[in-house]
Symmetry: C2
Subunit: 105 residues, 2 copies
């Protein structure tokens, strides 16, 4: 659910997207990419929700881990299909998490 | 939809939450807070989606703007009601956006 992370600082990739009307194969690929990301070195967790826009935030140990994941061959293929077919628009932001606070009932 | 931002670096507040079963008044407050945030100094944009978890990412010019918004009296009241009533769990992460890239069909 909510990703729990280790010591600060760590990094977040905020991926915000708007889907096109061509969603064939999207769910399967999204699930496969979540699983694959979780196996990468430096992966710390992921949170995701979609309504009008989709927001996926993945958390990483450092910038090098993010770079390696971006260049992963299966992920590159997914990114290509994303641009060709699934997304009408997206934005990726690479962030350094500097502070955090939590609440739990 | 997807927030468009000015020059890097700027700041992101990633607010991830799980709602409790007590949601009376939540939608109205959420909408009021979105409107109020948009009027604050240093506010750059916001993106939001909820499924199993809710993710709201707001974007800000600097850390001082984020601090002022956190201390806004109406927002403090909303935060208090959030802890008492609406959320079973949340996490807030303050991040410095260091790089971004976009795609538009």
């Amino acid at each position: 659910m909510i990703a729990s992370n280790p010591d600060i600082p760590y990094y977040a990739v905020i991926f915000t997207s708007v889907k096109s009307s061509h969603s064939e194969g999207y769910s399967e690929m999204a699930e496969a990419m979540h699983k694959l990301a979780a196996q990468q070195s430096g992966f710390l967790g992921v949170e995701s929700a979609r309504e009008e826009v989709g927001i996926t935030v993945s958390y990483w140990k450092d910038l090098e881990s993010i770079k390696q994941w971006k260049l992963n061959s299966q992920h590159l293929l997914a990114q290509k299909k994303g641009r060709e077919q699934w997304y009408s628009q997206y934005k990726t932001r690479i962030c350094r998490v500097e502070r955090e606070y939590s609440f739990e009932q």
